[in-house]
């Protein structure tokens, strides 16, 4: 059940109504049950994996066995997400050395959200062992923390000290929260269905055959991908946050206008905040952070960025993407230090453009299926600076640009603080109604008309 399906919203509405009607002592149980039902709609078999991870972390925290929790959690990720990647890489290496390799490629289905709920539950175990929070003795509440359906599939990765107290209170949502939830969901759907999904077709065509696409087309496709991945991820996070509000739960904001960043370090304070802060708190700082010798500090930075890349996907291109960011992050800090935002908007704008250009190049490696294809794309952009094509049609291209302008227009207004109380209802309510209309008009649907011939 995806966030963009009507079934999800029927499910969400029914759950929210039932939740509000129930006495508070039953709300956690109910929400836990609905979360497992939600997860089971992807594949019921993996509810056992989710339950297993929950039991593991609950009891490891109780008996202070955090090493066991870490090892088994990483093993779980290694098997389901990374086994074939490393196995196929070793096979390739052995074949290149003309050596036999006997371990076969396995048909492993990747459980939805495994990277998220594993990290979330592991974070709890580490926090308890470090005395940052008290262990949760109520298993139902802890299980809900691990399985809470708005965030289980695509985050944001929650922290126990923020979420467990909210689950304990099990408050009925305030009217204001429901209103905020609806607004977040509308905005999330716009980002996902209007911006991200619409750009996919242009990007796929260009990246599928870069040797025939013009440099201009590939450049546009790379920029579109930067926007697509932001809109897709941010959209999903906003729908998750909006959905959580229906149950009186506040989830952390996961994206803070990352493309307005004025440096790579700044970008990483704004992009996928829940993941970067998780790696900072549970990996970087335990490794010594920046309170070590310079070589070790460089090592710590690179390890975190490489693992961030690997977390995103099981492919060498993701690791390379992480490495590019790690290197630029290091270069920036070592050469320029921790620069603050300039008073001059022109300088900030230029920094923003340079940062976006670096991030954009890195995204090429993220999106391309192989390293070779990514290099091919970059070389073609530089050596064939010809006009871009419009893709399927001029009208589609124009509407895509229109959607992107709305995305960044609204983001910029929010970035400059034109939100909340500063945005009057007379502007906000019609604004969201217009966005909802744009979703109805421009959103991509699986039942759309598809012309197959030329």
């Amino acid at each position: 059940m995806l966030f963009t399906e009507i079934n999800y919203f029927l499910f969400l509405t029914a759950c929210a109504i039932a939740y509000s009607c129930l006495p508070s002592k039953f709300r956690s149980c109910f929400l836990l049950a609905t979360s497992y039902v939600f997860y089971a709609t992807f594949d019921w078999r993996f509810t056992f994996l989710l339950l297993g991870q929950t039991l593991l972390c609950f009891f490891c925290a109780k008996y202070r066995k955090n090493t066991l929790a870490i090892i088994l959690s990483i093993l779980e990720l290694a098997v389901f997400k990374y086994f074939n990647f490393f196995n196929d890489s070793f096979r390739q290496l052995f074949e290149n050395l003309h050596l036999p390799y006997l371990i076969p490629h396995l048909d492993i289905i990747l459980p939805v959200g495994i990277s998220f709920f594993t990290f979330q539950s592991l974070g709890y175990v580490i926090d308890v062992s470090q005395g940052k929070i008290q262990q949760e003795n109520n298993f139902v509440r802890f299980a809900l923390f691990t399985a809470f359906f708005p965030q289980i599939t695509a985050g944001p990765i929650g922290r126990a000290n923020e979420l467990l107290p909210q689950f304990q209170e099990a408050r009925r949502p305030a009217v204001q929260q429901i209103s905020e939830g609806i607004q977040l969901i509308i905005w999330g759907l716009f980002q996902k269905m209007v911006v991200a999904d619409r750009l996919a077709s242009y990007i796929t065509r260009a990246y599928a055959s870069p040797q025939t696409a013009s440099g201009g087309t590939l450049l546009v496709a790379s920029i579109f991908f930067s926007i697509q991945i932001y809109a897709d991820f941010s959209g999903y996070s906003d729908i998750a946050r909006g959905s959580a509000k229906f149950f009186g739960i506040n989830l952390h904001n996961n994206f803070n206008f990352p493309y307005f960043a004025t440096s790579i370090p700044d970008f990483w304070k704004r992009w996928h905040i829940s993941l970067t802060s998780w790696f900072r708190d549970y990996l970087y700082i335990p490794m010594g952070g920046n309170r070590v010798s310079k070589p070790k500090w460089i090592r710590n930075q690179l390890v975190v960025f490489l693992l961030s890349g690997l977390w995103h996907g099981a492919n060498w291109t993701f690791i390379l993407w992480g490495a590019i960011h790690g290197i630029f992050n290091l270069v920036h800090i070592m050469l320029l230090g921790k620069n603050k935002e300039s008073q001059s908007w022109i300088i900030n704008l230029m920094r923003c453009i340079v940062t976006f250009a670096i991030v954009n190049v890195a995204w090429i490696f993220f999106r391309a299926p192989t390293f070779k294809r990514a290099i091919q794309i970059i070389i073609r952009i530089m050596t064939h600076p010809t006009r871009p094509t419009f893709g399927v049609s001029q009208i589609t291209f124009a509407l895509n640009v229109f959607a992107i302008m709305i995305l960044f227009g609204v983001d910029f207004a929010a970035y400059r603080g034109f939100t909340g109380e500063r945005c009057p209802d007379a502007v906000r309510i019609p604004g969201y109604a217009v966005i909802a209309c744009i979703i109805a008009l421009l959103a991509v649907s699986s039942s759309s008309f598809i012309y197959l011939q030329f």
Binding site: I6, S393, Q394, I395, T396, L399, I429, P430, A433, V434, A436, C437, A440, L441, L442, A443, S445, S447, S448, F449, I450, Y451, L452, Q453, F454
Partner: protein, 282 residues
Amino acid sequence: MVFAIINILCLKLFNHGLKQYYCLWPADILIIGHSMSEMAIDRDLLEKLTGRSVAKYCMNGTAIPDRLIMIRHYLESTAHKPKVILYDIGPRSFSDGLAVNSHALFYPFINESPTVANYVRSNATSRDYYLKMCVPLSRYDDSRLGAVIRGYRHDWKNRSVKQLNIEHLKRQIIKGSFWKVQLNPDTQAVFEETLDFLEAQDIRLILLYLPNVDLLNNAEPEKSAEALNYIKETVSHHSKVTFIDANSLFESRHELFIDPLHLNPKGQQEVTTFLANKIDFP
């Protein structure tokens, strides 16, 4: 409420533009077809050369079953019978694989035409049907929006700047990657139903074999001949139906094509002039 108001207002605006583009007004000559007709026949030029009013109701991806709906929709919405219908036909008219979900093309008109409403209801899922009914703006897609704009601008011209890549086409034909000729019996039945319907309405029908690139025509010579023979055989059973071959004269003129099936602006001009001279309009 704001959402509902915007939906209703936009729907009125868009539907008006769309009706303009699809020429849903009384005319002497009605052109029915898909993108081939859209690109091959210049409505304004035909009107000028024949001195007759012309309505061009062509939609990308409409197969024979869709076109019967278009004809009925036109007759219903205009309450007018054209003197002649120009209908594009060819060896691939009975093939599958033209488009998916072609009923979605008719969503903008589901509230306005019982024929369209029934057709959509029988092809769309319940979820999609009721969603389109409740949220009018969801009936539109990019192509329809483009048609709305062109409708307000009264722009039916072929504006494509693409060029046919003959070498690429040759490679595709060798690989077998091209739209194959098929004779789907269900489609044939609807075609015959269309001819019978128009005969009952006493409307003259001209079947136009619009130009395709000769390389494509010669890729499956037996099957193409079989399909054309079927068309001619069917035509022979209907007194008010004529078959015109506009393909033979233009198929080898590659400079007139943007791809194996569609003409460029120059091709549109030449084919339209040919039709205006060839067809004896009442």
